[in-house]
């Protein structure tokens, strides 16, 4: 924050200070979270967030659920990119039980996770456009996101809370329709995306509104344990996909874009470039998609086909054991992190050998970086606070645990 802004914040005349409720701007400001601002005219002097209204006690719930029943809980963290959450959780369990995942499954996961990242970033960036006054750039990418949701639907049957995949792989292989839709998406999306990009990236009004709005320095961002695009916008190239590659990310060639000022414009530009990189990763993974099974050989965790359950004794036993949570689990402590839409999404799982986790903690990037919000908007006009809120991509579901 510049000295000038600091002075404004400190020299506010108490007689002119008003206390207001921020919003509604973001869909969640209608009651899921709250920001109380103290303002002097248009300038924000201080702010305080409340995040608990959406508390659904996931960590407590997880202590009473068998592992396969926890996947649907993870959907509800960052619901803009739920497949990443689902697959991150599945990989955590796979790490605990120590299973080799076929290369094909890993590549399929990469494709799905990168599609989810595109959907997530697309929403975030188009909402920044809305908050800067550009509604067309919000509606236009929706038809593109719709195509991604159709791809989810083809694979999992669901669109938003996908419950994608199973421990050990996917519930089904890529279907012919999926192949056809993915090919068509890869063909049409880049053009549509560049059109979207051309609406905002060099738009004079948009740049004037977003440059310098809600900046954070690399030092402060690190101290606040930022991760993901918000950290990279501040100039730090930390990405879990490169630092601790999982699911064969080491096989792919991609760039980790970084910004300079850590302001809204840089966050926007980092996400835009990440969408392009995600497309590159999907193309590489799809072109080199290995032959093989869409699931690991994991009868203790992966439900047998229904026809076998009716006709085959062993399949029936496994089915029963999985549904009733009778599977033996190793004792241990695992931390597994994936690069979610908003940054390092981690699962800290403590197993005591019981059929439910003894303790499961989610590291939600949103929860961790949202605490920096008052610092980022101090001394800014309210309109910049609106832009900052959307550009750090606060997803109410991910504030909760």
């Amino acid at each position: 924050m510049s000295q000038e802004l600091k002075d404004i914040a400190q020299n506010a005349d108490p007689a002119n200070v008003a206390t207001i409720n921020f919003g509604p701007t973001h869909p969640s400001t209608h009651g899921i979270f709250q920001n109380i601002l103290k303002v002097d005219g248009e300038k924000i002097i201080s702010s305080e967030q409340t995040v608990g209204y959406i508390h659904r006690a996931f960590e407590k719930l997880a202590e009473r659920r068998p592992y396969n029943q926890i996947t649907p809980i993870t959907d509800r963290l960052n619901y803009c990119s739920s497949p990443i959450n689902n697959i991150g959780w599945e990989m955590t369990v796979e790490k605990l039980i120590g299973v080799d995942i076929p290369k094909r499954v890993q590549y399929m996961r990469v494709i799905i996770m990168e599609l989810a990242r595109i959907a997530d970033h697309l929403i975030c960036n188009s909402v920044i456009g809305v908050d800067a006054g550009a509604l067309t750039s919000f509606f236009y990418p929706f038809s593109e996101r719709e195509k991604i949701y159709e791809l989810y639907e083809e694979l999992s049957g669901a669109r938003l809370t996908t419950n994608m995949g199973r421990i050990g792989g996917f519930e089904r292989d890529f279907t012919p329709v999926f192949h056809q839709k993915l090919k068509s998406f890869l063909k049409t999306f880049p053009k549509a995306f560049e059109e979207f990009d051309s609406m905002l990236a060099r738009n004079r009004i948009f740049m004037d509104r977003t440059k310098g709005a809600g900046p954070i320095s690399a030092e402060r961002a690190l101290s606040y344990s930022f991760s993901g695009p918000n950290l990279r916008a501040a100039g730090v190239d930390y990405d879990v996909r490169a630092m601790n590659p999982y699911s064969s990310y080491e096989d792919f060639d991609f760039i980790i874009p970084v910004g300079v000022n850590g302001d809204t414009y840089d966050r926007f530009m980092v996400r835009q470039e990440e969408i392009r990189q995600s497309l590159r990763i999907i193309e590489q993974a799809y072109q080199n998609l290995p032959e093989g099974d869409y699931k690991a050989d994991l009868p203790d965790f992966y439900l047998p086909p229904k026809a076998d359950v009716y006709n085959n004794m062993e399949a029936l036993i496994y089915h029963f054991k999985i549904v009733m949570g009778e599977t033996e689990l190793p004792v241990g402590e695992v931390y597994h992190a994936v690069e979610g839409g908003n940054g390092e999404l981690g699962y800290y799982l403590i197993s005591d050998g019981g059929r439910t986790p003894y303790r499961l903690q989610f590291r939600r990037p949103c929860f961790i970086y949202y605490q920096a919000y008052p610092e980022m908007i101090k001394g800014m006009p309210i309109s910049d606070a609106v832009l900052t809120l959307s550009s750090i991509n606060v997803i109410a579901g991910e504030l909760d645990a």
Binding site: M243, N244, E344
Partner: protein, 173 residues
């Protein structure tokens, strides 16, 4: 500069804080170190400022409740990450239920603020020196700490979720 591995980390911490390293193991490539709770702040500060270990990132803080282990019912787990060495490590401190106090690390990592508030909210562990230790996800006037194992989540009459069937023999519930 040469990358330090788990063993180097352990050796360096043991050399510096020998008596306070109560236990250690490596689980799934992550080094776990149990430290005397009163020394944890000092250890994390030292790790953060160390020129080669360079633990620059606080990944997470977690609380855990072990009602069975007398004198060490609560654990506070700090997950740290050294980017230069790409080493993740966990610092653990065990607290007795009568004295749930531990020093805050908000002076070292600004991001610890809400992590500690959440741990307080769920487990009732007090972080001394925290600038604003209030509940964060639950209501202010709540009078218990919900993540403690003493609170049963669902209807106790439901037999399908009885803990005995969950591979645990816990008669208290």
């Amino acid at each position: 500069m040469e990358m330090q591995n788990n063993q180097d980390f352990l050796a360096a911490i043991q050399a510096q804080f020998g008596a306070d390293v109560l236990a250690h193991d490596i689980a799934f490539d992550i080094l776990n170190i149990e430290i005397t709770p009163s020394q944890i702040h000092l250890v994390i500060e030292w790790l953060q400022q160390h020129p080669t270990l360079n633990v620059n990132y606080l990944t997470n803080i977690a609380g855990i409740h072990y009602p069975e282990s007398a004198g060490r019912e609560f654990a506070v787990v700090y997950q740290l990450h050294s980017w230069k060495n790409n080493i993740r490590l966990r610092i653990k401190g065990y607290l007795p239920k009568e004295n749930l106090h531990i020093a805050t690390v908000t002076d070292l990592f600004a991001g610890a603020n809400w992590m500690e508030r959440e741990t307080y909210d769920f487990f009732g562990i007090c972080f001394d020196g925290h600038p604003d230790l209030r509940r964060i996800l639950n209501m202010e006037d709540m009078d218990y700490f919900p993540m403690r194992k003493e609170y049963v989540l669902e209807d106790a009459t439901r037999e399908d979720k009885d803990d005995r069937f969950f591979g645990r023999n816990n008669n208290e519930l």
